[in-house]
Protein backbone atom coordinates (compact mmCIF):
# COMPACT_ATOMS: atom_id res chain seq x y z
CA UNK A 1 0.00 0.00 0.00
CA UNK A 2 1.47 3.29 -1.03
CA UNK A 3 0.91 5.58 1.94
CA UNK A 4 3.20 8.28 0.65
CA UNK A 5 1.45 11.47 -0.16
CA UNK A 6 2.65 13.33 -3.18
CA UNK A 7 3.68 16.84 -2.26
CA UNK A 8 2.06 19.45 -4.44
CA UNK A 9 4.45 21.87 -6.07
CA UNK A 10 3.29 25.41 -5.30
CA UNK A 11 2.18 27.33 -8.34
CA UNK A 12 4.69 29.81 -9.82
CA UNK A 13 2.23 32.67 -9.18
CA UNK A 14 2.08 31.80 -5.47
CA UNK A 15 5.86 31.57 -5.25
CA UNK A 16 6.20 34.98 -6.90
CA UNK A 17 3.63 36.53 -4.54
CA UNK A 18 5.33 35.05 -1.46
CA UNK A 19 8.80 36.08 -2.62
CA UNK A 20 7.63 39.63 -3.32
CA UNK A 21 5.91 39.83 0.07
CA UNK A 22 9.03 38.64 1.87
CA UNK A 23 11.26 41.03 -0.08
CA UNK A 24 8.91 43.93 0.62
CA UNK A 25 8.85 43.02 4.29
CA UNK A 26 12.62 42.74 4.52
CA UNK A 27 13.07 46.07 2.71
CA UNK A 28 10.55 47.78 5.00
CA UNK A 29 12.17 46.36 8.10
CA UNK A 30 15.64 47.42 6.90
CA UNK A 31 14.54 50.93 5.96
CA UNK A 32 12.49 51.43 9.10
CA UNK A 33 15.29 50.08 11.28
CA UNK A 34 17.78 52.41 9.65
CA UNK A 35 15.52 55.41 10.14
CA UNK A 36 14.63 54.55 13.70
CA UNK A 37 17.94 55.57 15.22
CA UNK A 38 16.21 58.12 17.38
CA UNK A 39 13.59 55.73 18.65
CA UNK A 40 12.71 56.41 22.25
CA UNK A 41 13.25 53.60 24.69
CA UNK A 42 10.53 52.66 27.14
CA UNK A 43 10.99 50.87 30.44
CA UNK A 44 11.34 47.07 30.43
CA UNK A 45 8.16 45.37 29.22
CA UNK A 46 6.41 48.66 28.59
CA UNK A 47 3.70 48.46 25.94
CA UNK A 48 4.08 49.83 22.43
CA UNK A 49 1.49 52.45 23.38
CA UNK A 50 4.16 53.91 25.64
CA UNK A 51 6.45 54.16 22.60
CA UNK A 52 3.73 56.20 20.87
CA UNK A 53 3.47 58.52 23.85
CA UNK A 54 7.22 59.04 23.98
CA UNK A 55 7.32 59.86 20.28
CA UNK A 56 4.51 62.38 20.71
CA UNK A 57 6.40 64.02 23.54
CA UNK A 58 9.70 64.08 21.66
CA UNK A 59 8.26 65.28 18.36
CA UNK A 60 5.57 67.73 19.34
CA UNK A 61 6.06 68.22 23.05
CA UNK A 62 2.60 66.70 23.52
CA UNK A 63 1.93 64.59 26.59
CA UNK A 64 -0.93 62.12 26.80
CA UNK A 65 -3.87 63.45 28.80
CA UNK A 66 -5.38 61.60 31.68
CA UNK A 67 -8.28 59.44 30.43
CA UNK A 68 -11.76 60.96 30.86
CA UNK A 69 -12.56 58.11 33.25
CA UNK A 70 -9.24 57.45 34.91
CA UNK A 71 -9.28 53.83 36.02
CA UNK A 72 -5.48 53.68 36.29
CA UNK A 73 -5.57 54.09 40.07
CA UNK A 74 -4.22 51.47 42.41
CA UNK A 75 -5.67 48.05 41.70
CA UNK A 76 -8.77 49.42 39.97
CA UNK A 77 -7.33 48.85 36.48
CA UNK A 78 -6.25 45.34 37.44
CA UNK A 79 -9.79 44.64 38.63
CA UNK A 80 -11.28 45.97 35.39
CA UNK A 81 -8.86 43.96 33.25
CA UNK A 82 -9.75 40.82 35.18
CA UNK A 83 -13.47 41.61 34.87
CA UNK A 84 -13.18 42.42 31.17
CA UNK A 85 -11.17 39.27 30.53
CA UNK A 86 -13.71 37.18 32.42
CA UNK A 87 -16.67 38.73 30.59
CA UNK A 88 -15.14 38.44 27.13
CA UNK A 89 -13.80 34.96 27.90
CA UNK A 90 -17.18 33.79 29.14
CA UNK A 91 -18.92 35.23 26.08
CA UNK A 92 -16.38 33.63 23.72
CA UNK A 93 -16.70 30.26 25.46
CA UNK A 94 -20.50 30.35 25.42
CA UNK A 95 -20.67 31.27 21.74
CA UNK A 96 -17.92 28.78 20.86
CA UNK A 97 -20.00 26.08 22.52
CA UNK A 98 -23.10 27.26 20.64
CA UNK A 99 -21.27 27.14 17.33
CA UNK A 100 -18.98 24.14 17.63
CA UNK A 101 -19.91 21.92 20.56
CA UNK A 102 -23.68 21.66 20.52
CA UNK A 103 -25.17 19.08 18.22
CA UNK A 104 -26.49 20.83 15.16
CA UNK A 105 -30.18 20.29 14.55
CA UNK A 106 -31.54 20.47 11.01
CA UNK A 107 -33.04 23.89 10.36
CA UNK A 108 -36.83 23.89 9.98
CA UNK A 109 -37.93 25.73 6.89
Amino acid sequence: MNRKKRLKTPSPALMIVLTLLLLAMAATAFAAGAMAQEKPKGSKWSGTDTIVEKFAEDLGGIRAREPFINTDQGDLLLFLFALGGFGAGFTSGYLWRTLFAEKQRPVDV
Binding site: A32, K39, T48, I51, G60, L99
Partner: protein, 227 residues
Protein backbone atom coordinates in the same frame (compact mmCIF):
# COMPACT_ATOMS: atom_id res chain seq x y z
CA UNK B 1 -1.33 50.79 18.51
CA UNK B 2 -3.79 52.62 20.72
CA UNK B 3 -3.09 56.33 20.44
CA UNK B 4 -3.63 57.74 23.90
CA UNK B 5 -5.95 60.55 24.97
CA UNK B 6 -4.92 64.02 23.85
CA UNK B 7 -2.00 62.98 21.62
CA UNK B 8 -3.57 64.17 18.37
CA UNK B 9 -4.32 67.85 17.68
CA UNK B 10 -8.07 68.62 17.45
CA UNK B 11 -8.18 69.02 13.66
CA UNK B 12 -6.63 65.60 13.12
CA UNK B 13 -8.85 63.98 15.75
CA UNK B 14 -11.96 65.36 14.00
CA UNK B 15 -10.64 64.39 10.56
CA UNK B 16 -10.13 60.77 11.58
CA UNK B 17 -13.64 60.62 13.08
CA UNK B 18 -14.98 61.94 9.76
CA UNK B 19 -12.97 59.36 7.83
CA UNK B 20 -14.23 56.52 10.02
CA UNK B 21 -17.93 57.50 9.90
CA UNK B 22 -18.83 56.08 6.44
CA UNK B 23 -17.26 52.72 7.30
CA UNK B 24 -19.26 52.53 10.54
CA UNK B 25 -22.46 53.46 8.71
CA UNK B 26 -21.85 50.69 6.16
CA UNK B 27 -21.15 48.29 9.02
CA UNK B 28 -24.51 49.08 10.64
CA UNK B 29 -26.28 48.63 7.32
CA UNK B 30 -24.54 45.28 6.73
CA UNK B 31 -25.45 44.16 10.26
CA UNK B 32 -29.19 44.52 9.68
CA UNK B 33 -29.03 42.71 6.34
CA UNK B 34 -26.75 39.83 7.29
CA UNK B 35 -28.49 39.00 10.58
CA UNK B 36 -31.63 38.30 8.55
CA UNK B 37 -29.82 36.40 5.82
CA UNK B 38 -27.50 34.11 7.81
CA UNK B 39 -28.86 32.01 10.74
CA UNK B 40 -25.47 31.60 12.46
CA UNK B 41 -24.45 35.22 11.98
CA UNK B 42 -25.22 36.51 15.48
CA UNK B 43 -23.10 33.98 17.40
CA UNK B 44 -20.22 34.36 14.92
CA UNK B 45 -20.43 38.14 15.26
CA UNK B 46 -20.49 37.89 19.06
CA UNK B 47 -17.50 35.54 19.03
CA UNK B 48 -15.55 37.89 16.77
CA UNK B 49 -16.47 40.91 18.90
CA UNK B 50 -15.28 39.24 22.10
CA UNK B 51 -12.15 38.01 20.31
CA UNK B 52 -11.22 41.47 19.04
CA UNK B 53 -11.79 42.89 22.53
CA UNK B 54 -9.51 40.32 24.16
CA UNK B 55 -6.85 40.10 21.45
CA UNK B 56 -6.44 43.86 21.05
CA UNK B 57 -6.04 44.40 24.79
CA UNK B 58 -3.71 41.51 25.52
CA UNK B 59 -0.18 42.76 26.17
CA UNK B 60 2.08 39.94 25.00
CA UNK B 61 5.73 40.18 26.12
CA UNK B 62 8.16 39.98 23.21
CA UNK B 63 11.52 38.94 24.69
CA UNK B 64 13.65 39.99 21.70
CA UNK B 65 12.25 43.53 21.93
CA UNK B 66 11.87 43.75 25.71
CA UNK B 67 8.43 45.31 25.28
CA UNK B 68 4.83 44.19 25.22
CA UNK B 69 2.55 44.49 22.21
CA UNK B 70 -0.75 43.11 21.06
CA UNK B 71 -2.22 41.65 17.88
CA UNK B 72 -5.42 43.20 16.49
CA UNK B 73 -7.93 40.48 15.63
CA UNK B 74 -9.57 42.55 12.90
CA UNK B 75 -8.11 40.67 9.90
CA UNK B 76 -9.59 37.43 11.28
CA UNK B 77 -12.97 39.06 11.95
CA UNK B 78 -12.98 40.69 8.51
CA UNK B 79 -12.48 37.35 6.77
CA UNK B 80 -15.44 35.84 8.64
CA UNK B 81 -17.97 38.68 8.98
CA UNK B 82 -16.77 41.15 6.35
CA UNK B 83 -14.59 44.27 6.61
CA UNK B 84 -17.31 46.77 7.55
CA UNK B 85 -18.80 44.73 10.36
CA UNK B 86 -15.30 44.01 11.58
CA UNK B 87 -14.73 47.77 11.68
CA UNK B 88 -17.92 48.19 13.70
CA UNK B 89 -16.81 45.51 16.17
CA UNK B 90 -13.40 47.18 16.49
CA UNK B 91 -15.09 50.53 17.15
CA UNK B 92 -17.19 49.10 20.00
CA UNK B 93 -14.15 47.37 21.44
CA UNK B 94 -11.99 50.52 21.19
CA UNK B 95 -14.74 52.60 22.81
CA UNK B 96 -14.95 50.25 25.80
CA UNK B 97 -11.16 50.17 26.09
CA UNK B 98 -10.98 53.98 26.00
CA UNK B 99 -13.76 54.40 28.56
CA UNK B 100 -12.88 51.81 31.16
CA UNK B 101 -9.41 50.39 30.52
CA UNK B 102 -7.23 53.52 30.07
CA UNK B 103 -6.36 52.12 26.64
CA UNK B 104 -6.54 54.61 23.78
CA UNK B 105 -8.73 57.67 24.16
CA UNK B 106 -12.05 59.22 23.26
CA UNK B 107 -10.48 62.07 21.26
CA UNK B 108 -8.25 59.60 19.41
CA UNK B 109 -11.02 57.04 18.88
CA UNK B 110 -11.49 58.00 15.22
CA UNK B 111 -7.80 57.52 14.44
CA UNK B 112 -7.73 54.21 16.29
CA UNK B 113 -10.86 53.03 14.43
CA UNK B 114 -9.20 53.89 11.12
CA UNK B 115 -5.99 52.00 11.92
CA UNK B 116 -7.24 48.92 13.75
CA UNK B 117 -10.78 48.77 12.35
CA UNK B 118 -10.75 50.04 8.79
CA UNK B 119 -7.20 49.33 7.63
CA UNK B 120 -6.76 46.07 9.56
CA UNK B 121 -10.08 44.78 8.22
CA UNK B 122 -9.71 45.95 4.63
CA UNK B 123 -6.13 44.74 4.25
CA UNK B 124 -6.89 41.39 5.90
CA UNK B 125 -10.04 40.88 3.85
CA UNK B 126 -8.44 42.11 0.61
CA UNK B 127 -5.34 39.91 0.92
CA UNK B 128 -7.48 36.87 1.79
CA UNK B 129 -9.84 37.35 -1.15
CA UNK B 130 -7.00 38.08 -3.57
CA UNK B 131 -5.01 35.02 -2.58
CA UNK B 132 -8.10 32.75 -2.59
CA UNK B 133 -9.01 33.96 -6.08
CA UNK B 134 -5.48 32.90 -7.14
CA UNK B 135 -6.03 29.40 -5.74
CA UNK B 136 -4.01 29.74 -2.53
CA UNK B 137 -5.17 27.37 0.22
CA UNK B 138 -7.60 28.57 2.90
CA UNK B 139 -5.09 28.42 5.76
CA UNK B 140 -2.21 30.07 3.91
CA UNK B 141 -4.45 32.84 2.56
CA UNK B 142 -5.83 33.52 6.06
CA UNK B 143 -2.36 33.42 7.59
CA UNK B 144 -0.92 35.93 5.14
CA UNK B 145 -4.02 38.10 5.56
CA UNK B 146 -3.53 38.15 9.33
CA UNK B 147 0.19 38.87 9.04
CA UNK B 148 -0.13 41.72 6.55
CA UNK B 149 -3.29 43.10 8.17
CA UNK B 150 -1.48 43.40 11.49
CA UNK B 151 1.51 45.19 9.98
CA UNK B 152 -0.82 47.49 8.05
CA UNK B 153 -2.49 48.54 11.33
CA UNK B 154 0.84 49.61 12.83
CA UNK B 155 1.95 51.29 9.59
CA UNK B 156 -1.28 53.30 9.68
CA UNK B 157 -0.82 54.30 13.32
CA UNK B 158 2.70 55.45 12.41
CA UNK B 159 1.32 57.48 9.51
CA UNK B 160 -1.40 59.05 11.68
CA UNK B 161 1.15 60.13 14.27
CA UNK B 162 3.64 61.34 11.67
CA UNK B 163 1.05 63.42 9.81
CA UNK B 164 -0.06 65.13 13.01
CA UNK B 165 3.29 65.55 14.75
CA UNK B 166 6.05 65.78 12.13
CA UNK B 167 6.40 69.55 12.51
CA UNK B 168 9.21 70.80 10.26
CA UNK B 169 10.61 67.34 9.60
CA UNK B 170 9.52 65.23 6.60
CA UNK B 171 6.41 63.25 7.53
CA UNK B 172 7.69 60.14 5.72
CA UNK B 173 10.92 60.09 7.71
CA UNK B 174 9.04 60.53 10.99
CA UNK B 175 6.54 57.84 10.01
CA UNK B 176 9.29 55.38 9.17
CA UNK B 177 11.02 56.12 12.48
CA UNK B 178 7.81 55.39 14.41
CA UNK B 179 7.13 52.26 12.38
CA UNK B 180 10.73 51.21 12.99
CA UNK B 181 10.15 51.53 16.73
CA UNK B 182 7.08 49.29 16.46
CA UNK B 183 8.74 46.62 14.30
CA UNK B 184 10.96 44.74 16.79
CA UNK B 185 7.89 43.81 18.85
CA UNK B 186 5.35 43.79 16.06
CA UNK B 187 7.12 41.63 13.49
CA UNK B 188 6.94 38.51 15.69
CA UNK B 189 3.42 39.40 16.82
CA UNK B 190 2.26 39.88 13.24
CA UNK B 191 3.40 36.31 12.57
CA UNK B 192 1.40 35.25 15.65
CA UNK B 193 -1.61 37.13 14.28
CA UNK B 194 -1.21 35.20 11.03
CA UNK B 195 -1.09 31.91 12.91
CA UNK B 196 -4.19 32.80 14.97
CA UNK B 197 -6.09 33.87 11.85
CA UNK B 198 -5.13 30.75 9.89
CA UNK B 199 -5.92 28.55 12.90
CA UNK B 200 -9.37 30.06 13.38
CA UNK B 201 -10.38 29.87 9.73
CA UNK B 202 -9.04 26.32 9.40
CA UNK B 203 -10.83 25.26 12.60
CA UNK B 204 -14.17 26.58 11.39
CA UNK B 205 -13.61 24.91 8.00
CA UNK B 206 -12.83 21.59 9.66
CA UNK B 207 -15.66 21.58 12.22
CA UNK B 208 -18.43 23.76 10.73
CA UNK B 209 -17.79 24.22 7.01
CA UNK B 210 -21.46 25.20 6.65
CA UNK B 211 -20.69 28.43 8.54
CA UNK B 212 -18.01 29.45 6.04
CA UNK B 213 -20.38 28.60 3.19
CA UNK B 214 -23.24 30.61 4.76
CA UNK B 215 -20.93 33.54 5.39
CA UNK B 216 -19.70 33.49 1.80
CA UNK B 217 -16.11 32.73 2.78
CA UNK B 218 -16.06 29.42 0.95
CA UNK B 219 -18.11 27.68 -1.73
CA UNK B 220 -17.98 24.16 -0.44
CA UNK B 221 -15.73 21.15 -0.70
CA UNK B 222 -13.28 22.90 -2.96
CA UNK B 223 -13.07 25.75 -0.48
CA UNK B 224 -13.33 28.27 -3.29
CA UNK B 225 -14.22 31.86 -2.58
CA UNK B 226 -17.65 32.95 -3.64
CA UNK B 227 -17.68 35.53 -6.36
Amino acid sequence: MHISEGILPAKWAVAWFGAAAPFLAKGLKDFKRRVQEVPTFKPVLGLMGASIFIISMLPIPVPIAGTCAHPCGTPMAAILVGPFLSTLLAAVSLLLQALFFAHGGLTTLGANIISEGVVGSLVGYGVFRLLRSRGVSLGLAAGLAGWLGDLAVYATTSAELALALHGTRPALSVGMAIFGAFLPAQLPLSVLEGVITAGMVNYVWKHRPDILIQLGVSQGKTGGVMA
